[in-house]
Amino acid sequence: MLKVLIPTIMLFPTIWLSSPKWLWTETTAHSLLIALVSLTWLKWTSETGWAVSNMYLATDPLSTPLLVLTCWLLPLMILASQNHINPEPISRQRLYITLLASLQTFLIMAFGATEMIMFYIMFEATLIPTLIIITRWGNQTERLNAGTYFLFYTLAGSLPLLVALLLLQQSTGTLSMLILQYSQPCTLQSWGHKIWWAGCLIAFLVKMPLYGVHLWLPKAHVEPPVAGSMVLAAVLLKLGGCGMIRMMVMLDPLSKELAYPFIILALWGIIMTGSICLRQADLKSLIAYSSVSHMALVAGGILVQTPWGFTGAIILMIAHGLVSSALFCLANTAYERTHSRTMILARGLQMIFPLTAVWWFVANLSNLALPPLPNLMGELMIITTMFNWSPWTITLTGTGTLITAGYSLYLFLMSQRGPAPSHIMGLSPFHTREHLLMVMHLVPVLLLITKPELMWGWCH
């Protein structure tokens, strides 16, 4: 764990001591080396449980894929931001990369935490750099509103979580996940216990987000610059998923009945947010709602608490992280050229940027869960386990799959096909940097087809 954490902390000297000319080169190279070292976490030679590096930081088959995704994403964020941050003064550029690196540090400590309070503190700590990125570097006035929604939705969910964790500490004497997994399942009947159950989960359901509490997401994903959108969609949502899977271990007998309304809300959310996607005029907003739709499926998979549910959830989290980030990068390339997120203003792009049309195509096919990509594998496992839980869910998940395919194809056709309007004829060609960025997003998704067991978790 330290072999990645220390180099990540050393990113701060790299950022502040690099010469201005070589700042981006050095930070990109440094973060890619960290990503390479993080791949060693994927070695899992035992059959169960945690690879404990010390009492407070450990990796297990749930956190490892998420940790590798986090470490992979930082160089991609740096690559994506390089162009639009360029006009700013050098100290502000350094500050921007510092925020991204600090996010990385907090996320590594969050996913690697063994103690629930450490997880909680790091969960909260990630809010601060993200808020600064959204409100300081966002491009429209709405960014302030977006920051407010983002901060207060998450805080409103996580304050009950703090109380619930303190109660748990009081009753069991420890909050270490290494120990709590062996604690007695609690026989809880009173209303207070049910509220405790809800308190444990609400924060993560808001973060995922679950359909009823998802309103922060379209704002918070649309307003920040590309790196903010990337990290939000790819990793921060998965903090919610990871937290839920961790908490489920301790919440057991109650969850059989109490999860019911949340599963229904999640299923309904797939349909509703998918339908909203079909009506979107704003490109980033469409991708944001598509994130809600996919995460609702993940939330449903976790709440039914079966092995396939957990496995499907982890696979879908990783695959969605990479693909959603790729789509935001593509949206940013259109935004940097046309300075607008409106879809009808940037259409017919296939004739103007033919190679990029390939990236749009692959990213959209991944989004609609084309076999044999891991997106499909995750979705299929979750749909199967929900069918096992109740056969009626197939109507909702099946319709959801259909709508997902609908809006993904809509996104592709709107942006790529059709006659290109005259005002975009003179758009600047695609940079090598942007092609590299897309390759580095999509190649891992394709490679994961060949070794999916890295993402299966410990239940398979």
């Binding site: 000319k21 070589w22 981006w24 080169t25 990109t28 190279a29 890619l32 080396l33 990503a35 390479l36 791949l39 060693t40 994927l42 070695k43 899992w44 030679t45 035992s46 059959e47 088959p61 992979w72 160089p75 690559l79 390089q82 162009n83 639009h84 360029n86 006009p87 300075h339 006659p419 290109a420 005259s422 004829m425 003179g426 758009l427 600047s428 060609p429 940079h431 090598t432 940097r433 942007e434 590299l436 390759v439 580095m440 190649v443 891992p444 490679l447 070794k451 067991e453 890295l454 299966w456 410990w458 398979h460």
Partner: protein
């Protein structure tokens, strides 16, 4: 809405890019021996006074540096080396070497071992005529149940 579309469609379908642009999309660069491709700036004239939000003139960076890779606007040396290092560390090191490392990782989660062990045990039990698996996971004699009278 469909009736409006069906009325307008014959007109829309006949709109050609050439009628919009005012000329056919054929390369307008003067014939020369070098097979120069039309750059993006040939298609529309750029007014030098036009400034975009970022404060620099709306001139394509490819004007100054035709080999612009998107990394550094001002210095082409830095731009080129940034591109080379990003590709090297991103693809050659992280994806290729990292991918090879992952490919050769030992049996992940002991899944292949579990399969081999199961087949070995089945073969062994069939050879000895033992049942493949006992019906009870826990030994029933060790389970102490409360008597049904109290509750």
């Amino acid at each position: 809405m469909t009736s409006r579309l069906s009325r307008m469609w014959p007109i829309l379908a006949r709109v050609r890019l050439s009628s919009v642009l005012g000329s056919r999309c054929v390369s307008q660069t003067p014939k020369s021996n070098a097979s120069g491709a039309a750059t993006a700036s040939d298609l529309q004239p750029v007014s030098p006074a036009a400034q975009d939000i970022h404060g620099h003139a709306e001139v394509s960076p490819f004007e100054k540096n035709p080999d612009f890779h998107g990394f550094h606007h001002q210095d082409s040396f830095v731009d080129e080396w940034n591109m080379r290092l990003a590709f090297f560390f991103g693809i050659s090191v992280a994806i290729v070497i990292g991918g090879t490392f992952i490919h050769y990782l030992p049996d992940h989660g002991m899944r292949q071992w579990a399969r081999r062990e199961a087949e070995r045990l089945i073969k062994q039990r069939e050879a000895y005529g033992l049942p493949l698996m006992t019906e009870n996971y826990y030994d029933p004699s060790k389970i102490i149940l409360p008597s049904s009278g109290e509750e």
